[in-house]
Amino acid sequence: MTQLFKKLSLKKTLAISVIALVGVSLSGCSPADQDLQDSTLTIYSGRNENLVQQVIDDFTAETGIAVEVRYAGGAELAAQILEEGQNSPADIFFSQDAGALGSLSKAGLLKAIPQELLDLVPSTYSAQDGNWVGISGRIRVLNYNPEKVTELPNSVFDLAGPQWQGRIGIAPTNASFQSFVTAMRVIEGEEKTLDWLKAMKTNAVLFEKNGAILEAVETGVVDAGLINHYYWYAKGKEVGMENMKSRITQFKDQDVGNLINVAGVGMVNDSASAKRFVEYLLSQSAQEYFASQTSEYPLIAGVPQVISLPALEEVPAPKIDLSDLDSLSETLDLIREAGLI
């Protein structure tokens, strides 16, 4: 009986696989849909589906332009576009951070954003060469447990002190942390940055992602952590703001720990629909979406921020050109030298 069952199941496996073969060839392999693809806007999105699919659906609803989105890690998508070169099917690259956009721009794979669109956003938040434009802003914050941290540090460099040993969480492999270290390197110099990173080697508990740090601060595993501001708001939305055990704050006086970064968009193909998409992202309704749904800073004038943090122009942020944040390999060398990866 069991024998029979086993034999049957083997045959079934085969049969099912054959059915699957037919099914997939019907559903997945339709490169011949050339007509459709011409009219379809292809977006490579390094931003998470959970965060941006809604705004893309709204775009289609408003413009009638069909969209295909390819979600993956921002760096992987940048590498993919680099490999595809001139033959890339992508029209738009929507990125979490400026670095990935910068690398495509350097390789000459991005088309210029129309000036009238660049003008909508303060020039600090777009590429100097006009090849990509910022869509939403995020800042680095100190996430802390108010029961454990009574005296707030003035500068991110204070965290290097011995009183912070084992109390602080960082995510050294995360792109946003690396951008922040790049900024520190550019502003404060390699030596000081390396010293700080080495101090982190003793003081910090290492995590893979911002969200994991927040989780650790919430659960009391560490007392404080360096994260992007919107993680805290996202968690607050999930569990209710009143249930948040941790708080976020900023450092004083243009501290590099308060770095402002942006999510931005570049055009791999400057078709009309691609321009229309960039235009849509900088529209009132899309900006309101980012302000309220992803708790980021809107970048166009006239859209108010929703979060309780200081306004972007009042953030005591360091003065830095975001295009300078693409010198990541030197940063990685430093982080590695400090033994953090």
Partner: protein, 505 residues
């Protein structure tokens, strides 16, 4: 000299062509930035990575071997209680993607990281490969021979070494090779647990600095390490023993008081490899309140199911062709092709993925971002998994049966399909199942090569974990484990099948 059938040669050469694509890609990138590439290779850091990677590969290979072999021996050859339950538990971690296992661990122990963490998680994730391979060959070993050896004055351990081991060695070393290459190419778990290996450095070269030259240089070093590992395995593998004898009677060895040591150890390994990850998944789904998007779930389920099924069958066919050529004809070329298809197995999926992006987008745009290119990616990545399972059954079919068939007037090539193929079929199907379940878990290449807007359970799981919504991730992870659990259980049943066919004493 007999000549292999055209179909066998064509499929084998096809697979070889595919397998050589990533190597060609790496060569292009390497030569393109030669000075920079050489700088990247000849750095102190390369030595450090070499040390880290070597330490991890060596330690995971050894521990996965010890654990997998012990589990197989205890559940097939001893009188330990709940043997079939422990066998299922030993096979099940195969269904759990190692990144899910790693996430499970850090969600319970947030500071779990570094060498020990990576070693533990990878050992748990890879020991089922050894367990299944050793189980399948252990049940074929005639226990009467072991008893004869005992009666000739050899203790239990010497019998294990001198009689049992030589008979399971080819399958066991092939599975350890899989473990070693798995460890070499692993990224997800290593990144989550933060241990620096070549593969992670290659990913970081892309991620951190979009530096394709540096990545290619590191990948070439990795390729050389892989060749070394393969060479070592070939050297110490030993010959497949063809045994046409009927299976002998089976006697379970009385563990006596040792069972009080063995039982808790088996239970501990099961708790670490299956219990903890699944418990943490359950905690994820309880903690989060997010509702399940059933449309997405079903779509991803179908995507995973169809891709894995298709990849399993296709890759199984290619692997069978190569095994036929390499083991039924024993030509140098066949053996070379078999080795080459192993060589690219340790390349990180991102390298294979980008190589196919490069060639696909620029040379064969008509298959770019279609299922076919993704399947070629899976073929390059997982052909060795199928080969490991299929080689032994194909090699073991007695030559005399082929001779007999030909003497009855069947031409040599027809004999291959009418005699060797059906006899080796259970092994071939096992190979297909192994590939399917590996494809189910694959992520980096799937993200790069999938048709736009086609989702699998793995890509959905990734979407959820990227934003750390574990509660949203939980149903996908559960479904993925259940789906991959089916082939894992089938493989276990297949490996242990002979046990029920043999008289119990």
């Amino acid at each position: 000299m007999r000549r292999p059938p055209f179909l066998v040669v064509a499929l084998s050469l096809g697979a070889t062509l595919f397998a050589s694509l990533p190597i060609g890609y790496l060569a292009i990138r390497f030569i393109e930035g030669l000075d920079k590439a050489l700088d990247e290779v000849f750095r102190l850091r390369t030595l450090e990575l070499l040390g880290n990677t070597g330490l991890l590969v060596l330690s995971v290979s050894i521990s996965a071997f010890v654990i997998g072999f012990s589990q197989a021996w205890l559940t097939t050859r001893s009188n330990i209680r709940f043997a079939s339950v422990f066998a299922v538990l030993a096979a099940l971690p195969l269904a759990i993607p190692s990144y899910v296992m790693a996430l499970g661990y850090i969600s319970v122990f947030p500071t779990f990281s570094g060498f020990f963490a990576s070693w533990l998680v990878l050992t748990l994730a890879t020991s089922p490969y050894v367990f299944l391979a050793v189980t399948a060959s252990l049940v074929r070993v005639d226990t009467a021979g072991e008893e004869v050896a005992r009666s000739l004055g050899f203790g239990r351990l010497s019998v294990l070494r001198k009689i049992t081991w030589p008979q399971v060695a080819p399958a066991a070393t092939a599975s350890v090779l899989l473990v070693a290459l798995y460890t070499l190419s692993e990224f997800g778990a290593i990144a989550i647990l933060r241990y620096d290996t070549f593969t992670r450095a290659i990913f970081n070269a892309y991620r951190g600095s979009f530096d394709r030259t540096a990545a290619a240089a590191l990948a070439i070093v990795l390729l050389l390490i892989t060749l070394l590992v393969i060479w070592l395995e070939r050297r110490y593998r030993g010959a497949n023993i063809s045994s046409s004898r009927a299976l002998g009677k089976r006697v379970r060895i009385d563990l006596g008081n040792w069972s009080w040591l063995a039982l808790p150890i088996l239970a501990l390994v099961a708790a670490l490899g299956v219990g903890l990850p699944i418990v943490s998944l359950i905690i994820w789904s309880i903690l989060g309140g997010s509702s399940i998007n059933w449309d997405q779930l079903l779509e991803a389920l179908w995507g995973s199911f169809s891709l894995a099924g298709l990849a399993g069958v296709i890759i199984g066919i290619f692997a069978t062709a190569i095994a036929f050529w390499a083991f039924r004809y024993r030509t140098k070329l066949g053996a070379f092709i078999e080795t080459l298809s192993w060589a690219t197995h340790a390349l990180p999926a991102i390298v294979v993925g980008l190589a196919l992006v490069f060639f696909g987008a620029n040379i064969t745009p008509w298959i770019y971002q279609t299922t076919w290119l993704l399947l070629i990616g899976y073929l390059i990545l997982f052909l060795p998994n199928a080969l490991a399972a299929i080689s032994s059954p194909v090699a073991r079919v007695p030559r005399s049966l082929e001779d007999l068939s030909q003497s009855l007037g069947t031409p040599a090539n027809r004999t291959l399909f009418k005699i060797v193929l059906p006899i080796a079929m259970p092994g071939i199907i096992a190979g297909m199942a192994l590939v399917s379940l590996t494809v189910l878990k694959e992520l980096p290449a799937t993200l790069l090569l999938r048709p736009t807007e086609v989702d699998t359970l793995a890509t959905r799981l990734w979407t959820a974990t990227e934003t750390l919504s574990y509660s949203q991730a939980a149903p996908y992870a559960m479904l993925l484990i259940m789906l991959a659990g089916l082939p894992a259980l089938a493989l276990n049943a297949q490996a242990r099948r002979a046990i029920s066919e043999v008289r119990e004493k």
